[in-house]
């Protein structure tokens, strides 16, 4: 077992078009994701985040370079199922990911595909629903659930596959604040308690701040990579690339521009208040 669950090496990719030459959507991306880590990916619209995500479980194959999942190149067609069961993927719209019309049937879908024996599927379904806090709804029809609940079912459907890594492409984009909160709590729990590697693509800075590593993309390239505290210090560069920073960092940055000597690496409101207090005293 390698330490890196996903290894992306110098990957380029463009969407094929018969008529004209299309631009490179991924332009030499190199990225290694450690087993058990929580990585957030930021970048403005069209920067190639979703495209990169789809390289992580062989939905797309790179034009140049290689992607390794647990040491297997995604170009190895015979190993496709091994790759897909190692890296699960959750998308933005829960409605378009749910296959069955009963919650537990849907969670069972992936293990059924993998040929897991019935009794074990039962166990996995119960365990997974418990994990995402949806046991009560096992027999419900998914279309009657709220957005946040549906998205947690979609996550459960992937977790039931027992992947070592899950990639979530803007899973909270269509949810209300409460649903968002629930989904984020579930994701964090999966990472901390189950040791599942998480790659979270998001537009929300506060979601990105939850991660222990932040990757910022622009024009198909990785332009920043590091712990959120460090990355957010590059306020000017991020703003220039059309991204915002968390409000706390933004405030500290403005204070600094106006001559107040505060550090920039305070993410939570408490830390931020502390920093300002210390500077003003």
């Amino acid at each position: 077992m390698s330490k890196e669950i996903i290894e992306i090496k110098d990957v380029t990719f463009r969407y094929p078009d018969v008529e004209k030459e299309t631009p490179l959507v991924l332009n030499g991306v190199t990225l290694a994701i450690d087993q058990g880590s929580f990585v957030a990916v930021l970048g403005h619209n069209g920067s190639g985040k979703s495209t990169l995500a789809k390289h992580m479980n062989a939905i797309y194959l790179p034009e140049g370079g290689t992607v390794y999942v647990d040491g297997i190149s995604t170009a190895e067609e015979e190993r496709l199922l091994d790759i897909r069961r190692t890296v699960g993927m959750v998308f933005q719209n829960p409605d378009n990911q749910i296959v069955a019309n009963v919650v537990e049937e849907d969670v069972a879908f992936a293990p059924e595909n993998l040929g897991v024996p019935s009794e074990e599927i039962r166990e996995r379904v119960d365990r997974t629903l418990e994990l995402v806090g949806m046991s009560k709804y096992a027999k419900h029809a998914p279309h009657l659930l709220s957005g946040g609940q549906k998205q947690r079912i979609a996550i459960a459907g992937v977790i039931a596959m027992e992947p070592r890594c899950i990639v979530l492409d803007e899973p909270t984009a269509m949810l209300d604040p409460i649903g968002r909160e629930d989904v984020l709590r579930t994701i964090t729990k999966l990472n901390r308690e189950q040791g599942i590697t998480v790659v979270l693509i998001t537009h929300h800075m506060d979601e990105a701040a939850l991660a222990d590593r932040l990757v910022v993309m622009d024009h198909g390239k990785v332009i920043q990579d590091g712990p959120p505290r460090e990355v957010f210090q590059h306020v000017e560069e991020l703003t220039r690339r059309g991204l915002t920073v968390p409000e706390t960092v933004g405030l500290l940055h403005q204070l600094r521009e106006n001559g107040v000597n505060v550090p920039l690496d305070a993410l939570s409101v408490e830390e931020c208040a502390e920093a300002i207090y210390a500077a003003l005293r």
């Binding site: 479980n57 939905i59 199922l81 897909r84 069961r85 699960g88 993927m89 998308f91 719209n93 409605d95 378009n96 990911q97 749910i98 296959v99 069955a100 019309n101 009963v102 537990e104 049937e105 069972a108 879908f109 992936a110 293990p111 059924e112 595909n113 993998l114 040929g115 897991v116 024996p117 019935s118 599927i121 039962r122 379904v125 029809a141 998914p142 279309h143 979609a154 459907g157 992937v158 596959m161």
Partner: protein, 269 residues
């Protein structure tokens, strides 16, 4: 308004009829329909009616719900009745006016035809009322299983059916949304003649289709991400198991068919 449409209506319950294996129920409906078409006279119809009544009784569905199911086909019922009444001219003439003739034979045929259709509909409705759509699909997939050898894509068809069932509520909701959105832009779905109304549907159907295709594309990707690769090597969460009560039901169904056939062909009852 569109939410009222219920397709594949199912009344959840825990009666013996609900608990029967879906395959048993599907086979029973087939046997019942075959028997119904052999029935000739009051005795055989009566036996089948009693049989249906027992099944309805056990299912706790209620005659009212069954009768409600008859409403959409009321027109067909009346039409068939009237047609048969005038078409058949055997027996003694009871009434005559122009080209219309009512005979005893006509009345008999019309009466039994209407009864037959009503019993047929009740029987099939009992199946959909007591079997959840997923179980029904599972049952059909299993019964058609042998056709896989003839390269009939049974699993794929069943999968399509269950996905269609899953997306009906989603698409109905979407239709509602698009309708409201177009109404807000001044679309009018309710007035004008038939052609106007058909034209008014275009701004509804186009976005609906576009969105359905997008959904289909996303769903296919999501299914692939969850290792879907056709029916090969697939297991199921819920295995269909044939139990004693299924065998008993099936055997009694076959016995019923035999009795009806003997009475109808042997004695003309």
């Amino acid at each position: 308004m569109l939410k009222d449409i219920t397709l594949g209506q199912f009344f959840p319950g825990d009666t013996i009829v609900h608990r029967l294996d879906p395959r048993t129920k599907i086979l029973m409906v087939i046997i019942y329909i075959v028997a119904l078409f052999q029935a000739k006279w009051f005795v055989t119809y009566g036996i089948l009616l009693v049989f249906l009544a027992i099944a309805v009784r056990f299912s706790k569905v209620g005659a009212k719900a069954l009768m409600r199911g008859m409403k959409p086909v009321l027109f067909i019922l009346i039409f068939t009745g009237v047609l048969n009444l005038f078409y058949n001219t055997a027996g003694t003439i009871l009434w005559h006016w122009g080209i219309f003739t009512v005979t005893t034979g006509g009345i008999r045929v019309a009466f039994f035809m209407v009864i037959r259709i009503m019993m047929l509909i009740s029987g099939t409705f009992l199946l959909t009322y007591t079997t959840s759509p997923i179980l029904l699909t599972d049952g059909i997939e299993c019964l058609l299983g042998p056709l896989k050898k003839l390269r009939v894509p049974v699993h794929e068809l069943a999968m399509m059916m269950s996905i269609a069932l899953r997306f009906i509520p989603t698409l109905i909701e979407e239709t509602d949304k698009i309708m409201s959105a177009q109404k807000a832009r001044g679309a009018d779905f309710d007035s004008g003649n038939l052609i106007d109304k058909a034209k008014a549907l275009i701004p509804l159907l186009v976005p609906l289709f576009v969105s359905a295709f997008r959904r289909a594309d996303e769903l296919a990707t999501a299914m692939e991400c969850r290792c879907y690769h056709g029916g090969e090597g697939r297991t199921r969460l819920r295995q269909l198991v044939y139990t004693g009560k299924d065998w008993i039901t099936l055997i009694s169904g076959l016995a019923l068919l035999a009795v009806v056939c003997v009475l109808a062909y042997g004695f003309g009852l």
